[in-house]
Point group: C2
Chain length 678, copies 2
Amino acid sequence: MSQNPLVIFTPSGKRGRFPVGTPVLTAARQLGVDLDSVCGGRGICSKCQVTPSVGEYPKHGVTVSADALSEWNAVEQRYKDKRGLIDGRRLGCQATVQADVVIDVPPESQVHRQVVRKRAEARDIVLNAAVRLYYVEVEEPDMHKPSGDLERLKSALQKQWGLEKISIDPALLRTLQPTLRKGNWTLTVAAHKTHQSDTVEITRIWPGYFDGPIYGLAVDLGSTTIAAHLCDLKTGEVVASSGIMNPQIRFGEDLMSRVSYAMMNKGGDLEMTRAVRDGMRALFDQIAKEGEIDKDLILDATFVCNPVMHHLFLGIDPYELGQAPFALALNTSLSLKASDLDLGLHQGARVYVLPCIAGHVGADAAAVALSESPNTSEDLVLLVDVGTNAEIILGNKDRVLACSSPTGPAFEGAQISSGQRAAPGAIERVEIDPVTKEPRFRVIGSDLWSDEDGFDRAIATTGITGICGSGIIEVLAEMRLAGLLDASGLIGSAEQTGSARCIPDGRTHSYLLWDGSADGGPVITVTNPDVRAIQMAKAALYSGARLLMDKLEVETVDRIVLAGAFGAHISAKHAMVLGMIPDCPLDKVTSAGNAAGTGARIALLNIDARADIEKTVGEIEKIETAVEPRFQEHFVNASAMPNAVEPFPILKTVVDLPEVSFNTGGEGGGNRRRRRRG
Amino acid sequence: MSQNPLVIFTPSGKRGRFPVGTPVLTAARQLGVDLDSVCGGRGICSKCQVTPSVGEYPKHGVTVSADALSEWNAVEQRYKDKRGLIDGRRLGCQATVQADVVIDVPPESQVHRQVVRKRAEARDIVLNAAVRLYYVEVEEPDMHKPSGDLERLKSALQKQWGLEKISIDPALLRTLQPTLRKGNWTLTVAAHKTHQSDTVEITRIWPGYFDGPIYGLAVDLGSTTIAAHLCDLKTGEVVASSGIMNPQIRFGEDLMSRVSYAMMNKGGDLEMTRAVRDGMRALFDQIAKEGEIDKDLILDATFVCNPVMHHLFLGIDPYELGQAPFALALNTSLSLKASDLDLGLHQGARVYVLPCIAGHVGADAAAVALSESPNTSEDLVLLVDVGTNAEIILGNKDRVLACSSPTGPAFEGAQISSGQRAAPGAIERVEIDPVTKEPRFRVIGSDLWSDEDGFDRAIATTGITGICGSGIIEVLAEMRLAGLLDASGLIGSAEQTGSARCIPDGRTHSYLLWDGSADGGPVITVTNPDVRAIQMAKAALYSGARLLMDKLEVETVDRIVLAGAFGAHISAKHAMVLGMIPDCPLDKVTSAGNAAGTGARIALLNIDARADIEKTVGEIEKIETAVEPRFQEHFVNASAMPNAVEPFPILKTVVDLPEVSFNTGGEGGGNRRRRRRG
């Protein structure tokens, strides 16, 4: 038996020689191996579980004997008897090294474990939360060495955990003495560190060893909805996800109407601040209930939002955001107490608000950038977060640009004659037979198409109530593909199209998608004003993207990522037929889901990510679309479907775009091609 | 004319050569000369006024011509016309160097000017307040460079004032945008720096240039009274001083009865916390009114108090201070927001609570140490702060010790048969003729002795109501000197003393000081229980001091400083006759007045003093009297007046101490000397 056996840790591969009798935890710490411990090696917390391997390891050049670690001692045996240990596991703080050994640290024993994300292209999150628990044994007071309980606690945290600069939430001063005595001079401390300072702050204390989990909230505060993930800060897992409507909706559907409300009504901004915080408190109550947790164990929260929501949430009048030069009160990140924002969380809860990128490009866009990392991408990626305002980011590892574009609420079903929010009963998918011009569709709440057996039964409860955002994109694109709608946005007449579904509607025509009137249901048509609304919205979106491409002097992008709930539901093909997004191989258009929410979650689980995104935001070039002369030109061109000047060659290899024109007035055009009734 | 004229500043003597045309303020800054400026050299604030000298300066080796500084420019002339300038003064930011020059910086143009204290032996205070005002011009927002208003403000403070790490009170985020616009992109910032961090915090903002003063409070929170000084933070002057009774008195007169109240009544500590904070708010309203200032301009406050008051003020249950080992919740200093303590001050006001020394030796003692600097004293100084609890500090530049001693309230007139607080009508000075044994006295409210003409008229309003603390010390000492009271504390009978004023009182005797019964007034006597109460109190005080002398292995001290209101009123000779304080030349016994309050004021006006006292407190050796075996021995010896074993040789060169004994019972003694009736 070697005097100084070799200890090899997997999966890190870190290795070193230690005297016989060295605890595994000590060896791990000296080698910088990521092995967790809350109790500081006292055999209480069991976070330092390891699995010693036995046998030959030619790769490492060692043979491990069965007695490479010490016999079970009383502490370890007692833990196993009382709480149980997985077969083969040992407590790293109790088992000591006796001979050469290979020791595996399972993922759940790592502090900085990886939180695996579902999407292959997204980077994994390495856990490094702002709040960590530390168990400490504090020296008892001694009349002859008069130092306060707090000072002895700090000194214990320094000696036992290497924490240097320590502050304490003043609210804890009152409970410190009884807590220390209740825990018989031991306690567990929640310490909050930030990436901005080298001081850790004690934000909560428990007598003795506190075994429970602690939680954090990642909140995506949107104009329409507030969504939150409740995460376990020790495992990174999402315990519950929940959302509510933003109660500010009663002050205005879109951002600018809320800014107007604040301008026109004295104290209106404060009313809206109260409303959103009230909503936040209700959401947190709800998510704690859904996650079946004690809300007081929520000790950290991250927030992403657009600039107007950002200001209203922080209690700042958004007045300046309603007019040029769109000056933000602040654009950098903010670290606060939850109580500063009246969030109804535990006194020890802290809040981090991500930085904004510019007056129209908010912390939500920053969160998308954090989640999707365009700044590390080899290929040129276009990120589009579609909402009432679209945030657009274009770039790669060399350079990243961002802008926002005022798409308006049409994509959310507003301003559309039969439009509605995405809810059961709404038409979400549409196909139109290019020959017969007959539609079929699916509604939210059923997987059946309208021409399939059982459809009527399946939708009996919800009925067919309207068209949601993704449905309107699809029906327009299908109309365009079926030759019912021309590139300029005119719907043809029954005569021009050969479809009786094209019915006169004032001076234009509408397409009859569904007639439910026989059963007292709605008549759902697509009108020419509906087409105009979508044209305006998609032209705004495209022009923003095109402007960024101009700035980078590129004609194409390598891939497109659609973020947001809307982005998750629209079909890439249909969006491209309308010219919402630039020409691109369809398999290179992916959805990132709620990337802003994911960015909030990353910032919650890893404080280094906070430093990262602050740096990235500083490096992103901001383009203000409102003052770019080319924006207007792009906008006019982008009003056509897909576009008046861009050729969309890749799209044209996939679909056939009929070159129809239904403009019966004066100049040019006329129908250059017409399909016959099938 | 030299290309690079020589510029010499007085009184600093700093000198350097600068190109012709250099503004005086620029030269001063480059040389590190302390020349104030709030507006940053824009000719607005006039803080940089200097006086150029003309003529020969052989000492400096220069001759200064009349045109050594530039002609008056338009800005300077406009300032002079509008606001006026003292003859010979120039604005340092406008006047430029043209030739060799000697420039005097008057005290009011120095940032770190000295605040002169009245006592010669006390060190002056160099002004270096935590809060300073900075005038800044902020860049206007630019759509193409989207940074928030806050970030542009920070950048202006960095560029124009060299402030590096800047944070802002979150409450100001709401007012930042309108303030900047109201001031047309200029504003004045109150920035709070601490000695504990390199970050300055913006705590208040004003549009444009704010010319007004800002204030701070130095608060001495005592068991009986709360006293505060309102100070101008730009000049260091005391604008108003005020005090109120501590509203906690209704929960108990002394500290231990308040600790008991907290122990016996659930929530009792919180009741007392509320009471003291209520009192504080009332005091601050009152002092702002007395100083005729806007209370919202108070932006800083320092607090000193004993440990029990410290805990109750901070909202900490003082339970642990009521029993060994007298563990403080915390002993280090505390920097907080005033709003954390519910003090009714402006949101931007910050609070600094001085560190405590030990469980019985509080921040008030630390403040005395800061004011009197025993740690820099060449000679050995004994500091005694007499109150319900006496804080005792002994030391010099080599070593400082501290303890506290439970004197009880006898020195404040409590537990004394005719005792009362120091108020008009109370007897405060007493003389007894050693031959006739007849007394004469003075009462608070009149300068006349009781045997002088006009005394009756002078006291007609107040009457003669009782004896205050200093009066009881004097009457006892005078009785001792007149042979009416023996060393053991017995009052002689009329027969033993030859004075008819010594009247039987149960099994002992009393001395009749004043009989007002003819006019319906009180009969004021000194009883033997009165003597016992003072004996206990003074023995406790002396034993504490003696214990510290033991620890330092000294038999004498070089000087004695009496702090506190009581210390300011007692006569050194009489205190020494009773043996309250060690033997010492009488001219070496001085009063420091409210040294604790002065310490609070020093910490308010100079943040370096905060670092100093924290360091000093860490170095002071704390002695716990309760567990020192010799304390009891000293106490027994010190019960005698002046002392059973200490010889008091210096005192005996000044006074004649009759060696009488009135013990008529058994062992030893008997009257060794008896005076006849006069």
